[in-house]
Subunit: 192 residues, 2 copies
Amino acid sequence: MSVQERKERERAVRERLIVATARELAEQQGWDAVTTRRLAERIEYSQPVLYSHFRGKREIIGAVALEGAAELAAVVRAAASAADGPRERVAALARAYLDFAERNPAVYDAMFQLEGGLAFAAEDTPEPLKDAFAALLESLGEVAGDGVHPGLFTELFWAALHGVATLTRAGRLPPEYLEPRLELLVDRLAIT
Amino acid sequence: MSVQERKERERAVRERLIVATARELAEQQGWDAVTTRRLAERIEYSQPVLYSHFRGKREIIGAVALEGAAELAAVVRAAASAADGPRERVAALARAYLDFAERNPAVYDAMFQLEGGLAFAAEDTPEPLKDAFAALLESLGEVAGDGVHPGLFTELFWAALHGVATLTRAGRLPPEYLEPRLELLVDRLAIT
DNA sequence: TTGATTGTCTAGCGATGCTAGGATCGAGTC
DNA sequence: GACTCGATCCTAGCATCGCTAGACAATCAA
């Protein structure tokens, strides 16, 4: 069975290569530039190989999104654990979130803008997505305020962050006032 | 000069027909279904006619977005003027905004999700977009709180609404708690 | 060595946004 | 009223897209 195991290992390596290449290409030239042909050429295989790993382009985007969700969760947790006190923890979390969105625009798009074929807030929601939300909940739950459901509060805070992130990156909000915007958001929403 | 004027009038009518048809098709079957061929067929002209009015598909989306911005501004103003007191005005505004996004998903996408080739928060921002923001500012400015720049506050509130609207419609937020989410948003952000 | 299975590639389908070039029509002139 | 000429529109086609069928090659068991 060793030879079969080797093949499976090689397949897994190639699958990671596909996802990493798609992500790299998307960050470099945008998701429009990520065509199956270009992607196949970069990994030095033919197009049909992609379809032996994923159902289609959407699933590749979804794979990048899952990878991003795991990273976002880690980034958020790291920022929160490095800050002292609830208020500073939330501010650090917000900064880390917006920073992640700014530094990884293509990944962020894969997660929230493009249809990656992922289910949210449902039974079959993939683990990384649930965990990313959990990471937010850990720090945000403690500043929800009395009588306010922590999950509901986290959803709202997250939505606000998401709105700021997307509108800023789409050129809809002037980027220079990002910091005061963030301070205002934390001061108003979080109850410490 | 009468014949030339008539031609210009007919051209204007046809241009409105294109935009209206694109919008209708997008609301019915989504923007993916709005292809230049289908659009041309619906208006009973050939494809190249579209390109005599717009540079490309993006500009058509942009035209729909401008139309939507004007409607959104009107909807927001109507809701605000029908409510008594700052707090209720803001709540009515938020409800109207989210309601608009839910009832006109394709138009909302054209405005904020798809690249319609429109400039925001800049010198050459089209008038309807500026006016939509102004409509928000009129009601939101009065609840910004002391020492907080009204424009900055409006941007933040808008971003929060936008986040709730997009995440809800994308299935990222459970829709059943929309009302309490809205109440929480208004209670926390607005200072009355 | 042979036969079968697994893996990969070439070639192609239908559809996309967009455009070049020819056909057609109608306004203005004799 | 016939004719010219410019504006207007359509047919046909290009390059590219996501995706797939079928031929081919490599690898394994017998």
